[in-house]
Symmetry: C2
Amino acid sequence: MAHSHDHTVCVEQALAEAERICEERGSRFTDLRRRILKMIWQGHKAVKAYDLLDQLANEGGSAKPPTVYRALDFLMEEGLVHKIESLNAYIGCPHPGDSHVSQFLICDKCETVKEVTSRTLSEAVMAAATSADFAIRRQTLELHGLCSNCRQGAKAA
Amino acid sequence: MAHSHDHTVCVEQALAEAERICEERGSRFTDLRRRILKMIWQGHKAVKAYDLLDQLANEGGSAKPPTVYRALDFLMEEGLVHKIESLNAYIGCPHPGDSHVSQFLICDKCETVKEVTSRTLSEAVMAAATSADFAIRRQTLELHGLCSNCRQGAKAA
DNA sequence: ACAGTGTTGTTATGCTGTAACATTGTTGTG
DNA sequence: CACAACAATGTTACAGCATAACAACACTGT
Ligand SMILES: [Zn+2]
Ligand SMILES: [Zn+2]
Ligand SMILES: [Zn+2]
Ligand SMILES: [Zn+2]
């Protein structure tokens, strides 16, 4: 988020929801997966797979790429994490559980990624697809630019 | 394109336009860049950098990655080619010259990529950004699914 | 105890992309 | 033409992103 906030709340909420969702579905929210999800939630920036790998290594133990990618695959399948294609990086979903299509606002300055779900936008996407007789199964919608906060900083300076 | 067509026309037109645009701007449409643009236009699918590399190698000579990536950078800067982030692949722009934001319809079956420029969609994107007080500089909008042709094939079968 | 399944560890490799420096080609100037 | 300046390409080396294949371990239910 651009504005400051108590981020520990974000993290705890995300972990609690993940726990609940996996419980419901009978999928296993193991310690490794929990650790990685927590790392991804260390802020509102998208996190790179190899940064996760490094952090795992620092916590002791010798982590290898598959460890991280398998956890990421799991988290994405469960809808707990999204991949930002234009960054090759991963971000926690702020509202997993309820199925949704999302769009991302990515600030190129502070790197904050905000997930939004605009109904209007979704409908426009649908309309565009329909008029081309195209059946959407998955969408990547990533908007890069400057967040409100970073633009105000620029003006002040 | 899903429907069959005389693709040599597409290619020739793309190359001619590229020539014209570079001429206008005083940028150099060298032989290498021309060859690579032509390869990208071998169809309406997105092409991978290392496939271009292989083709260069096959045409004799020992091409290395930077050769390809530099050409791609040039072509993208001139707006002759777009990158499809969700595929790590590159596709020729069917209407370079006129500045535009585009969206891509990517068929997961036949791999055809269609570039569209929907005004409604662009406006919805703008509206979503504005309402989040976000200033867009670049957008990635990639819709994966099935094109009309591939769905009809499925029904018939 | 045991089989079956899912998770993690390990090794190796493939794909994607760039940094840095050498060489060659092009353009304009005296 | 000789020469400087710059753009483009060649070359080597490496960094970053991701998966295949198999081994070891853990959890489940019988
Ligand atoms: Zn937060
Ligand atoms: Zn920002
Ligand atoms: Zn064509
Ligand atoms: Zn298709």
